[in-house]
């Protein structure tokens, strides 16, 4: 399914497969369009299953012109970091706690830099190399910066990572360690994004992965949907809970399901799509609740900094998909986010960052309100690692400090072991 052209999602104007991201006629976003795939379903499945254990097993559905980079991504760093093919875990204890039958956790913290961003960066950087770019850059809420810095190091390219000045320390350190140029901008993510949109016009030899490479970058998120289908034994889930920042991940997971349904690689109906936001930055959830098809931007104030995008460009598409699929976009408080992190950790052994806490909290709320049929097969998307947002769990428990003696231990745990 070779990439054929870029096409405006709003007015349909076509463009060549270059480093462009916005329609010159109406300013709408551009999306990759593929040539029709002429292969029988069984052969296609076999080709996918024989592919590498990373996103390049789905190369037929990704926008590279020359095919996947390198024969073995696991062995050759210059071919890029091996993103994707993360575990899909049957979360029986979590399901039981929520009164549901079947909950699966897609743990994308198990990527090279511990978030789903490695997927999109792998695609954007591979396409950037095809187009001959000299450097990688991005506007980031943290996880993307980690992924761009690491990928650039693997590929041997310089990188420039622009972040809001108030970012969690772990995310700043886990960017700078790769030798990236870290630019801390006095402002929020939306200020950083505006600056980078202006800078991308001034530095035409830089691939801003989420700006001028955005049509290619965002395609990488479809691989989450492909993996879920494959890991469920070529079946669709009934429902997906996905965190929403700009809305790109949510819309592309939906597109991934749709593409495989259209091809006949999987049968059934499109999953119900539930978007998850934090109350402190809920422009899409607000619009959903108000019945609007556009988002009024907000100034973010939440512990879920990786979701702190107040001006979500894909918001209108998220609203449309959530409504058409019978889903919703809901928001939860910072306290619910902390509870969500604990609930997931205590029932699955997976420690997620604040964005994952948002997803768990929304699932918990939907289940509590009886909006999920107990027989549904639900997939919960965990996009990042708890070690990057330790502040969220600080103070949530106390360690038992004792002298090194059996008596001291017994005294401290007298109630627990008696």
């Amino acid at each position: 399914m070779a990439a054929e052209k870029l096409k405006c999602k709003e007015c349909g104007t076509a463009y060549p497969l270059e480093a462009r991201y916005v329609c010159e006629r109406c300013f709408g976003p551009l999306e990759v369009v593929y040539e029709a795939l002429d292969a029988d379903v069984a052969a296609l499945r076999r080709r996918i299953q024989a592919g590498p254990g990373d996103i390049w097993r789905y190369a037929d559905f990704l926008p590279l012109v020359a095919g996947p980079p390198g024969p073995s991504n696991h062995l050759a760093s210059r071919a890029g970091l091996p993103a994707g093919w993360t575990p899909l875990i049957s979360a029986d204890r979590l399901a039981e706690r929520l009164g549901l039958r079947e909950v699966w956790v897609k743990n994308d913290a198990a990527n090279p830099t511990h978030s789903f961003k490695d997927r999109v960066v792998a695609v954007a950087s591979a396409r950037a190399r095809e187009l001959g770019f000299a450097a990688l850059a991005c506007a980031s809420t943290g996880n993307l910066g980690n992924a761009v810095a690491a990928q650039a190091a693997a590929l041997g390219l310089p990188s420039y990572v622009f972040i809001p000045a108030d970012l969690e320390e772990a995310k700043v350190l886990a960017t700078g360690v790769y030798g990236a140029n870290v630019v801390s901008v006095r402002g929020n993510y939306d200020d950083v994004n505006r600056l980078c949109t202006e800078l991308s016009a001034e530095h035409e030899d830089w691939a801003f992965v989420n700006i001028n490479m955005r049509p290619y970058y965002s395609e990488g998120s479809k691989t989450v949907a492909f993996e879920i289908i494959e890991q469920l034994g070529w079946e669709l889930p009934d429902r997906c809970i996905v965190p929403v920042a700009s809305g790109s991940l949510f819309t592309k997971i939906h597109r991934g399901f749709q593409e495989w349904l259209d091809l006949g690689l999987v049968s059934g109906r499109l999953p119900t799509m539930n978007g998850a936001q934090a109350e402190g930055c809920a422009p899409v959830a607000n619009a959903f609740a108000a019945g609007q098809d556009f988002c009024q931007p907000v100034k973010p104030n939440t512990i879920a900094k990786s979701l702190a995008i107040g001006n979500p460009a894909d918001g209108p598409y998220v609203l449309d998909i959530a409504r058409r699929s019978g889903g919703s976009v809901a928001a939860v408080s910072d306290a619910q986010i902390r509870d969500g992190i604990s609930l997931l950790a205590e029932t699955t052994g997976i420690f997620t960052e604040t964005a994952g806490g948002v997803s768990v909290a929304v699932l918990s709320e939907l289940a509590g309100r009886g909006e999920i049929d107990p027989d549904e097969r639900v997939v919960l998307l965990i996009t990042g690692d708890g070690l990057k947002t330790l502040d969220a769990v600080r103070g949530s428990f106390e360690a038992h400090e004792i002298d090194p003696s059996v008596a001291a231990f017994d005294a401290a745990f007298a109630q627990a072991v008696s």
Partner: protein, 91 residues
């Protein structure tokens, strides 16, 4: 009352390559109208059929998104910079 309007690369085909221009006007609406007098082709690219801004067009006065201010009625101080940019998703 004149503002400096910054034109993004994607719209420069409609301005003959001009990236920055001075336009008179006391509000965003007035400045945009003045801009459309200078470059007629710009109107249909950034305005919708109802005369509002298209939904993927962001306008900033002195770096602030006008949706946090008074929208197209936002006052434009003399010498202020008005920036037009496309909305971009993906953090």
């Amino acid at each position: 009352m004149a503002a400096t309007v910054k034109i993004p690369t994607q719209l420069r085909a409609a301005t003959g390559g001009v990236s920055e221009t001075s336009v008179d006007g006391a509000t965003v609406a007035e400045v945009l109208d003045g801009l459309f007098v200078q470059f007629g082709e710009l109107r249909e690219r950034i305005q919708d059929e109802q005369g509002g801004l298209r939904r993927f067009v962001n306008v900033y006065v002195a770096g602030e998104d006008i949706r946090f201010l008074d929208g197209v009625n936002t006052a434009v101080p003399d010498g202020a910079e008005l920036t037009i940019l496309p909305a971009v998703a993906g953090g």
